[in-house]
Subunit: 329 residues, 2 copies
C-alpha cells in the first residue's frame, strides 16, 4: 500500500478534506462567509464581523537577511489586512499576534519587529490587543485580524456570466523581486528597477481603500496572494463559471519589463508569481466604466464565460497555459 503524504494532496486538497469531513456549520444561520474564502464572516447581534488568520514562517515565507525586522512586522500585518480587504467593505479593528521566536533573538530585533506591527496597524487605525510568545527554532508569526463589516460583503463565488474581470494594479513585481533575491542574494548590487521589484516583495500594501470604494459594485472579489492565475481559477471554480483572459491586458510594470525583457518571463511572473496582494474582482459590464473612473488604476483583463474553463488569449489566439507557481505541499 502506498502511504499518501500531504504533498500528493496539496493545499486545496487538504481544504477540501476539511470542508467535507470536519466542517459542520450547515445549521449556523449566523455564518455569512464560511471556510474557504479569504476571511470568515458572521453575524453577531446587530453587527457583522470578518476574521482572517495567516501564518508566516522563517525560511518558508521569508528569510531573515532578505527583509529587516520592521519590514517583516509590517508585511505580516499587510498580508492579513489584504485578506480582510478581499471581503469588501470591512474595517480591520483588532490584531492578535502570536510569535514563535528563537531564544537567541535580540531585544533590538523584537522591538523593530513590533515597530513594524504597530506602524502597519496604526495606518489602519487597528489596535494590537493580544497574542502569545513561544519558543521556536524558526521565527513564526501568526496574525489574526478582526474586522467590522460596514457595507457589502463580496465572496469569491458571485461572478456572473458576462461580468468583466478586473485587477487593482500591476502583477508580477513581487514574484520577480523574490526571484532576484533567490538568485543573487542580498549582497548583490541591484539596480534601481531591481530594487523596486524587491521592495514590492518585501513591502506589500493591502488594497483596503480600493475594496471599500469598489465593493458596492462587485459580484466577486479575492486577493492575489497566491498569484493571478490561482485567483482567477478560484473565482471561476467557486462561481461555477469560466473565463476568457486577454494576456496582453494584464498590467505589468515598467520596472518588471526593464529587468525581465522577455515576454514569456514577464507573463510567468504576472500569472504565477505570488504576493502581489492586488485585488482580483468581477463587475457587471454595465458598471465597468463607472468603476474605472472611480478607481483609475484598475485594469480589465478578461470576462466571465459559462464554459467552466479558463482560456487565455494573446492577440486573439488561444494560448496553452500550465500552472507552475509555488505549491505549499
Amino acid at each position: 500500500m502506498k502511504i499518501k503524504n500531504i504533498t500528493s494532496i496539496g493545499e486545496f486538497g487538504l481544504i477540501d478534506i476539511i470542508k467535507n469531513k470536519f466542517v459542520n456549520t450547515n445549521n449556523d444561520s449566523d455564518i455569512i462567509v464560511n471556510i474557504g474564502d479569504d476571511s470568515f464572516c458572521f453575524k453577531l447581534g446587530n453587527m457583522r464581523l470578518c476574521i482572517s488568520k495567516d501564518m508566516l514562517i522563517e525560511d518558508v515565507h521569508f528569510k531573515k537577511d532578505w527583509i529587516d525586522p520592521e519590514g517583516l512586522g509590517k508585511k505580516s500585518i499587510e498580508v492579513n489586512v489584504s485578506d480582510i480587504a478581499a471581503m469588501g467593505a470591512v474595517s480591520p479593528r483588532y490584531a492578535f499576534i502570536g510569535l514563535g521566536l528563537p531564544q537567541k533573538t535580540s531585544k533590538a530585533f523584537f522591538i523593530q519587529l513590533y515597530k513594524g506591527f504597530k506602524g502597519a496597524c496604526d495606518n489602519y487605525n487597528m489596535a494590537i490587543v493580544g497574542g502569545d510568545f513561544v519558543k521556536s527554532d524558526k521565527i513564526v508569526i501568526s496574525v489574526t485580524i478582526v474586522g467590522i463589516v460596514n457595507g457589502k460583503i463580496i465572496k469569491r463565488s458571485g461572478a456572473k456570466f458576462g461580468d468583466l474581470i478586473g485587477v487593482t494594479n500591476f502583477f508580477g513585481d513581487a514574484g520577480a523581486g523574490f526571484s532576484l533575491l533567490y538568485r543573487y542574494g542580498t549582497r548583490h548590487k541591484f539596480n534601481r528597477n531591481e530594487r523596486i521589484l524587491i521592495s514590492k516583495q518585501n513591502n506589500p500594501k493591502a488594497r483596503l481603500k480600493e475594496a471599500w470604494k469598489m465593493s458596492k459594485y462587485l459580484t466577486s472579489l479575492i486577493d492575489a496572494s497566491d498569484g493571478l492565475y490561482v485567483s482567477i481559477d478560484s473565482i471561476t471554480k467557486h462561481s461555477g463559471k469560466g473565463a476568457e483572459i486577454y494576456i496582453d491586458k494584464i498590467p505589468v510594470s515598467l520596472n518588471l519589463k526593464n529587468v525581465f525583457r522577455k515576454n514569456k518571463e514577464q507573463l510567468n511572473f504576472a500569472l504565477f508569481g505570488s504576493e502581489d496582494y492586488e485585488l482580483v474582482f468581477t463587475v457587471p459590464n454595465s458598471k465597468a466604466s463607472f468603476l474605472k473612473k472611480l478607481v483609475p488604476q484598475i485594469s480589465y483583463i478578461g470576462k466571465i464565460t459559462t464554459s467552466k474553463k479558463v482560456k487565455y488569449f494573446y492577440d486573439h489566439e488561444e494560448q496553452k497555459i500550465k500552472y507552475f507557481g509555488y505549491k505549499h505541499f
Copy 2:
C-alpha cells in the same frame, strides 16, 4: 555594550514592552479586557466577544512520539478553550486553526489531527470555520477561538482583601506526567498511576462548565496553564494585592502521591508544573461555602492580603518558595 536577547527579558518582560510601547487602546471604550489577560474581550453592538489565541510548536510544547495526532488536535483546542473559560461566562463558538506541517506529513496524521480538533470542538458546540496551511520544518498549531459572552466577565485583576483563593481540582499531575515522559521516554513500561499522570499531560480538559457555574460569584479568575505559582502571582500582581497560601491545602491527587512519594516533589509539581489547566479564582469569604456546594470539587488554598507579597505556609510556618518552573525565554 552588552546586546540583550529576549531570554534575559523573559516572556512577561516582553509583554510589558508591548503594553508600554506598542499598545494604544486607551481611547477604545469598546474594550472590556485588554492585552495581558487570558483572552481579549470587547463590546460589539449589543453583544460582547472574547477571543483567545495560542500556539503549540513541536519539540517545544509536545513531541510527536509522546502524543498521538488525535490527542494533539484535541489538546490544542482544550488549551484555547481554557483561556476562554478563564474569562467567566463565555461560550466558545468559532475555531480558526492555522497549521504549519512538514511536507512529509502523512494523510493519516493530518486526518487524525483534524479528528482531534473536531472531536474537541463538537464537545463545545464550536465550529471550525477557518485557518490556513503552510509548510514548516516543525509542526506548528495556532488556534484562535471566538467566544460569545453570556454573563459576567471576570478579569485576573479583581481580587479583594479577604477573598478566599480557590482552585477547581488537583495540581501537579500534568507536570508530573511530562516529567515521566521526559525521563523515561514512551517505550518505558509505566504503571497505572504513571499512565494516569501522563494522560493528564496529554489529555487536558478545560474547566468551562465550572467557569460558567462560578463566574457570578468570583472577583478574579485565571487558568493555571503556566502552573499554580504563576497564576497566584498574576492574580495578586494584577489586583495590587498579596496572598497567604496554605501549602497543605493544595489538592494533590493520589496518583501523584503514589508515584512521587516525597512531599517536596509533590509540592514542586503542584506549584511549578504547568498545563494542569485548572482554574484559580478568588471569591468573597461570604460566598465561599455556597460556591463549594455548587461545585463540590473546588478547594480553598489561601486568602488575599494587602501585603503585595505572596507568602506560603506549611503547618502554620512560613516557607521560602522560589520559582523554578518552565520559562519560554
